[in-house]
Subunit: 245 residues, 4 copies
């Protein structure tokens, strides 16, 4: 669980909602739902290399990302490293304002801009893919009493799988749960969650984030290096068939 | 433009809104937008073979479908025929309550059921794929002042391309513009439009339906028979290369 | 594991390859890979109701389907029942010539026709979605020494996720591993496997079918009835928020 | 039509095949198929700003891209500019070795690496989406007698629409025609075409590239600036409805 951890230290109002930081609230939700299945660690912006060294990433199956004010302070070296690791099989769960993080924009190839209004909206989250593992155990719909509005057009590639759509008090809609595959890695974007509202304590939200982590975890053999396929020479095929035999 | 034309004859209130039938209102919108590009004809349920003979279908590039009360009165023989024709390249634009028509359910393979409320909702239609030809010239968003509510979960396959999402006064959301490819044919479902409200006179709605017809029209060589591929025998490939040479 | 079990009883050559029936060979592969995770049962065409009574289906999480000669002998009542059950959450894995089964065509909405040649082709199976759980542990590529050719155009909807593409000796290609979501159910089509060749004993094939069963198994609450959403009345939303609170 | 135009000047063998440069061969094909519908211009790497100034891009509806040896010599400033222009509505057609261009990798978010063998393969191109406008008039299949092999795994996001799959003499397969939407822009990748073989003179290849340019051309209002949506304030919605009324 990575978070920039900036709001919480600058802003008393945020600290009142998340006294131990947003990352600890999310990590607590993951521990609650994943139990023995996972070891949950946290890392933040101000640690050396933002806490995301090669060693840490290599031993991370799924990285969860929260950022907002400090996207530009994340070093490009670390973004390159996380990007490579995702393409090689690490799952990535991007939350709320993480839509404008360098890593999410890098993976999407678009601006990831969206319409927004920081007010006091009621968000209703609807499941549009009830067969999807990320929707398991999620009531249809559920209500987040107070939330920042995120609206369309959300400038992302069409999701490989769209799981949730939200509406807001102002009549806006938003693709709030989006799944992507990139290389050997799986990416889940989930928009609910805000620094000023206690969204990350809400049971439905915690369940979805935990489901997202489970889904993004790949059981496939993961690559430890960037994919650089070896050119084939003639006859490779018969040789491989022999090896298999 | 096919319509069952039942409401309009049974119900004075509907007749007050669509005195010449819903099909004529939609056909007028198509003529307005497509002009010389298309010849627009209408057919209705009570005609022999519902007006959808083999000859009519063979000379139809895109069929637009409106039905509601009388889905079950559409004969299976005609549904089979339309189905075959779509798979062989005829476009199909399915409107509003047509979601439960036999032909749409046949093409989708699901129940196509949805949540609904016949009240007096305001629908807001948002474009989520601004590069799509069906979104050309459509304001983002636009408002339909009075409309029946259609909400998720809408039991359809995930659209190949999702173009519009709507919200309703009650906080519901709906995938209101959905594109599919089936065989040689293209299918567009568009939900706005209701028998009791003058939705089919609204300029944005007319434009979208016309855009949908243009998109569903395939310039590809169309098949006049169901796809039954000939088994290949060894060496077909060299023979074809010779023919091409 | 359902199979029509016709070839095996009519044709000595097939019996030589699959002495206990194709279904037993596939079931053995499932038992080998799923172990304690699953109870594997078999059913065949000649049983009462083809062995697919309501009780059997209600207690089945994932149904695997093999058929070829006798598609038309599967009763429509049973097809309706399986269809409903898939839309309500039962997984379905369709193998090889099952592409023309009533149930697969019903779920796809297309002819599901394809190009074919019964010869002695070598099939090479390539993974095009290495992050997908169905590709876990599958060598890239792997070779099936002798196989019937299945080629494009395969008249199916574009898969929600395409996992494998095969090539054949004659230069043909085929989308050989295709994932779909339909309602609450997940459907996996996998083409390798033929009655005259020992494909269902090959380790890679067995692993993929087991992976497919795992993927198609939904942990979501399953519906025991067809989805018929209740119309909403005004104010439903505030009431539900109250209940959640 | 943009090309790096490096091979042709360094290598006599390539010059023998494309005496006026690859870009002129492709441009000739576009002129042949698009006729009066389009003005076809060319630009190359060694021009100032690679011939891709703001003015040129603003007046370009669809950019076609060929590069191979000199991907790294394309300046990041120009890549940023092209990227922005695609997201704002310019179509992009990327050919063959352009899969490793900076602009394609930027838009995809993945490595875009692939398996390859420079030999003397026969490529067979199969249509898997016969309803798609890019497949219009394309024989199924067609053969390219001599071609470099490009094989899977091709590290790209799952295409929004997959139109062609190719096979090669060695049994490899490749997703050779892939459509994407990114922001307001549409991107088509087409792999056939190589500097040493006369592929860009082949009629089927020319038709597909022209079809791709037509498909990527968006009739939608294009954005001249990066998408930066204005935050909404409460009541925006009623005001907009008033304006529409």
């Amino acid at each position: 669980m990575w978070s920039e951890n900036v709001h919480e230290r600058q802003d008393e109002e945020v600290r009142a909602v998340y006294p131990d930081g947003i990352h600890e609230a999310i990590a607590a939700g993951l521990r609650e739902h994943l139990g023995e299945q996972a070891v949950v660690r946290t890392a933040t912006l101000d640690q050396p290399e933002h806490g995301l060294t090669d060693e840490v990433l290599e031993s991370t199956d799924v990285l969860t990302w929260w950022g907002h004010l400090a996207h530009d302070r994340v070093s490009d070296v670390v973004v390159d490293r996380v990007h490579r690791r995702v393409l090689n099989g690490m799952g990535l769960v991007v939350l709320h304002s993480g839509h404008e993080s360098k890593i999410f924009r890098r993976l999407m190839g678009t601006t990831c801009a969206l319409l927004w209004r920081e007010a006091d909206d009621r968000e209703v989250v609807w499941t549009v893919n009830p067969a999807h593992p990320i929707a398991a155990g999620v009531p249809h719909p559920f209500v987040i009493p107070r939330q920042e509005m995120y609206g369309e057009f959300f400038d992302i590639p069409q999701p490989d799988e769209l799981v949730f759509i939200s509406s807001f008090t102002g009549g806006e809609v938003f693709r709030s749960g989006c799944c992507y595959t990139r290389g050997w890695g799986r990416v889940f974007y989930f928009s609910p969650g805000h620094e000023s509202f206690p969204v990350y304590y809400q049971p439905e939200v915690r369940r979805i984030i935990a489901n997202g982590v489970r889904w993004a975890y790949s059981t496939n053999a993961q690559r430890s290096q960037t994919y650089k396929p070896t050119p084939l020479s003639a006859g490779w095929y018969e040789r491989r068939a022999d090896e298999q035999a």
